[in-house]
Amino acid sequence: MAGLDLLPAVIDLVAVLLLALGIKGLSKVSTARSANGLAALAMGLAVLGLLIQQPLSPQAWLWIAVGTAVGGLLGLVTAQRVPMTAMPETVALFNGCGGMASLLVALGVALYGPGGTPGLVEQVSIVISVFVGAITFSGSIAAMGKLQGWIDTPGWTQSSLRHGVNIALAVACLAGAVALPGAMAGFPLWLLVVASSLLGIGVTLPIGGADMPVVISLLNSYSGVAAAAAGFVVGSQLLIVAGAMVGAAGLILTQVMCTAMNRSLVSVLFGGALGGAAPVGGGGEEAGYTRITSCSAEECALALEAAERVVFVPGYGLAVAQAQHALRELSKLLEAHGVGVTYAIHPVAGRMPGHMNVLLAEADVPYEQLLEMDTINPEFPRTDVVIVLGANDVVNPDAKTDSTSPLYGMPVLEVDQARQVFVVKRSLGAGYAGIKNALFELPQTAMVFGDAKSVLNGLLSELRSMGVGKKVAA
């Protein structure tokens, strides 16, 4: 009898252990994949433990089946269909839905209180769960919209007006939270829901795209907090532990990312988009550049053909153009020609740390050719040709030299040390940080205008017509 009572508790404990081991294993390359499976197993175990603990009516089973079928199927399809380039948006979407789940649970308990009238602890937990859940949901969706380019950054969000709006919303949240315990199902609850949701959007919207990874990571941490709060609401210790672990781990990851960009969390959250002085929304501004040299794919191909060491610097432009396979093909051709090829990966290249590694891995680029910033920077003076593919702010030399630049202090790839630099870019538009790049005006820099994929394909056909790599291929 006692043994049977103990079973769910043992299952819970094992689940927590496996979850912790899973998170730990995910931080090592060799164990990451099995650790992910371990965490999934732990989750299944936790669900099993709960199901054998709770007596369920057939009606409850029916509703569980419906929710499982719909959510599981949509998750399955989304995970398989979504392109690797859209990873940050996808994580944001999943994350938002997790927040929404916590919000709905808290709403259910607040409105219909299954276990009688909620006590004070439950009421406080409900407030936290609704608040954090709503912010996680709306903030994640706003982040996703920005990354997908569905939402622009409205002008007013770059002025100090946004602080006023957000403070007003925060006050409304607070008012709702304070009034809530007195009237569970009334106006304060809906005030809290609406104001928290708007606050999530209001806080996320002004943040520039360059800082978006940090925001997604932070929101990921929030969804852990929301889950822990939901754990207090329904009285599940397993949920509290797991939520707290994810919340804390997410916070650490956020901090790691901030360090990589030399930004503080405070300036990311409240500083607005970098370079507020730049014209907002006028993405295509070409004013300000005076000494630009542009060149054709042919000239670039000639330089590549003659080079001994070539470094590619991939950025978000590469991801958008889905050009990773074309890049891999070009590298193979150059290697066959005896050119040493490496890739310089800035810690925050793309829209998320590790984003470029994932993309290039998809194109079968050998692991050893991906060099991190600290390894590659001393190599640039001995590099003949650097090709920057849709990266901008991470190669801006102003970050080292110009103390007035908003980027000042951010570690960058020192491509300006190389003999020749080609920047593949669609236009002279500012980067995500919205500021001018001094690299473009250097004498050794030439711009190759065009979308990364078409430029790379152009280079490929130029090189092939020159007969590069033929001996080996034949």
Partner: protein, 101 residues
Amino acid sequence: MSALTQALWVLLLGSLLGLELIGKVPPTLHTPLMSGANAISGITVLASLTLIAQANGQLPLLVLGSLSLGFALFNVVGGFLVTDRMLAMFSRKKTRSGGAG
């Protein structure tokens, strides 16, 4: 120890564990780790299931619980699968480069 105190201890220790779990992460793994942690945060399925279990036949609770379960499972299933997709590419790359070099 009251249930609340106990729950607060659990919260504290869980948070401390989370802080310690990921000290050093190679940048390569930042995205998969974020995605994996995100999938784990879908553990809120437990709350959804509890809500349904305790609904006592109340339709609004069943609907809310089921909806919440759908959202949470979307997070869990999608999150784990997408993480696996990313990590699968790393392992494939590792074996290939190992064979070549």
